[in-house]
């Protein structure tokens, strides 16, 4: 961004771009959640457990490898750990609700 523009204006413009990135992140996260839901219902059909630490580790390793900075690899791992777990929690809650509805 040209340095001639007043700093306050640059902050505003950059913030608008950050907001745009955030919207994109939210969209991507929900797309990820939907895909995970599909995986988990397929897993349920196959009688496989939700918890798969081997696969989790594979994902965390892969995102850290894909990281070109400036974020630290360890930070990327941390962020993705949270993403993985929150999405998993959501799915577990939904399947528990289905169970409860079936039981009624």
């Amino acid at each position: 961004m040209p340095q001639g523009i007043p700093a306050e204006e640059r902050v505003r413009a950059l913030r608008a771009r950050v907001d745009e990135v955030d919207r994109e992140l939210v969209r991507a996260l929900n797309e990820r959640a939907r895909l995970v839901q599909e995986i988990l219902s397929a897993k349920a059909e196959a009688g496989l457990p939700v918890y798969d630490p081997r696969r989790e580790e594979e994902i965390l390793r892969r995102v850290a490898e894909a990281n070109a900075g400036p974020l630290y690899d360890s930070s990327v791992r941390e962020i993705f750990e949270l993403i993985l777990h929150r999405i998993r929690d959501l799915e577990i809650q939904q399947s528990a609700e289905e169970e409860r509805r079936d039981a009624l």
Partner: protein, 263 residues
């Protein structure tokens, strides 16, 4: 599900497995009396410790191999399945000779070399292992500890919640029933509950056992003693052996409501 298809497994679909017995094997007579009460209450699994992980090195450490022999002899005589703790990788084979079900205690939950060795020893056998949750371990850490056993070849793993450390002092530990439900949702391993160690006092054992059934646990591990006041360890939390029958009675209707039979 890792349930044994032949019906010989420790955890069977539609059942609620109760393991009961004294904390420690003190003598043949003591363990026989304790095991007989377990059988008379209608339970098929008896527990007893031969190697005891005690906080102080000066506390009674268990009878060791002699204790194991008592366990297998008594269990064999009464037609019960024996459950006992293994603490040292070098004792795994010996313990497996004397007990169908091994137990890894809370203090060893993250003893990864023990976990891997037990997993490898269990591979292809009819033996089971109960993995207790460490009292400062998260559910995630507990499941990962179990993964050490399963990834080393031991498929027959049962998780056991036994209370975690919290700020509460009216009980020895705090029984984390939420953790039981979460562990069951995440993994396909059976989860049982040890209300005796969690509470550290016998008056809470029955109510917590009822709560465990209601929360969907697959079984219980309860300490009982024919003379709690004389027990060499954990007498405060041991249920008098003659109360095991009424424990079974009180659990039955709750288990039935959830489609389970107390065994």
């Amino acid at each position: 599900m890792r349930f044994n298809s032949e019906g010989a497994g420790m955890i069977l679909p539609g059942t609620f497995r109760v393991v009961a017995g004294p904390c420690t094997v003190e003598s043949y007579e003591q363990f026989y009396a304790g095991a007989l009460a377990v059988k008379e209450a209608g339970f098929g699994y008896v527990r007893g410790g031969a190697f005891k992980p005690r906080t102080s090195p000066y506390s009674f450490q268990g009878l060791g191999e002699e204790g194991l022999k008592i366990i297998s002899e008594v269990a064999g005589k009464l037609g019960l399945v024996a459950v006992t703790e293994v603490m040292d990788p070098q004792d795994i084979e010996l313990v497996m000779e004397h007990a169908r079900v091994l137990q890894i205690g809370a203090r060893n939950m993250q003893n990864f070399s023990l976990l891997k060795r037990v997993g490898a020893a269990l591979r292809g056998t009819e033996h089971w292992v109960i993995l207790k949750r460490g009292f400062a371990a998260t559910v995630e850490e507990w499941l990962l500890a179990a993964e050490y056993i399963t990834s080393s070849g031991g498929e027959n793993v049962v998780l056991c919640e036994r209370g975690i450390r919290t700020f509460e002092t009216s009980t020895r530990f705090t029984l984390d029933l939420s953790g039981v439900v979460v562990a069951k949702r995440l993994s396909d391993l059976p989860v049982i509950v040890d209300p005796s160690h969690a509470a550290g006092r016998r008056d809470l054992v029955v109510p917590l056992s009822r709560a465990a059934v209601a929360a969907g646990a697959d079984g219980l591990m309860v300490e009982s003693h024919h003379r709690p006041q004389e027990a060499l360890c954990d007498g405060d939390q041991a249920l008098p052996a003659e109360e095991l029958g009424s424990l079974a009675e009180t659990l039955r209707p709750i288990a039935a409501a959830l489609g389970r039979k107390v065994i």
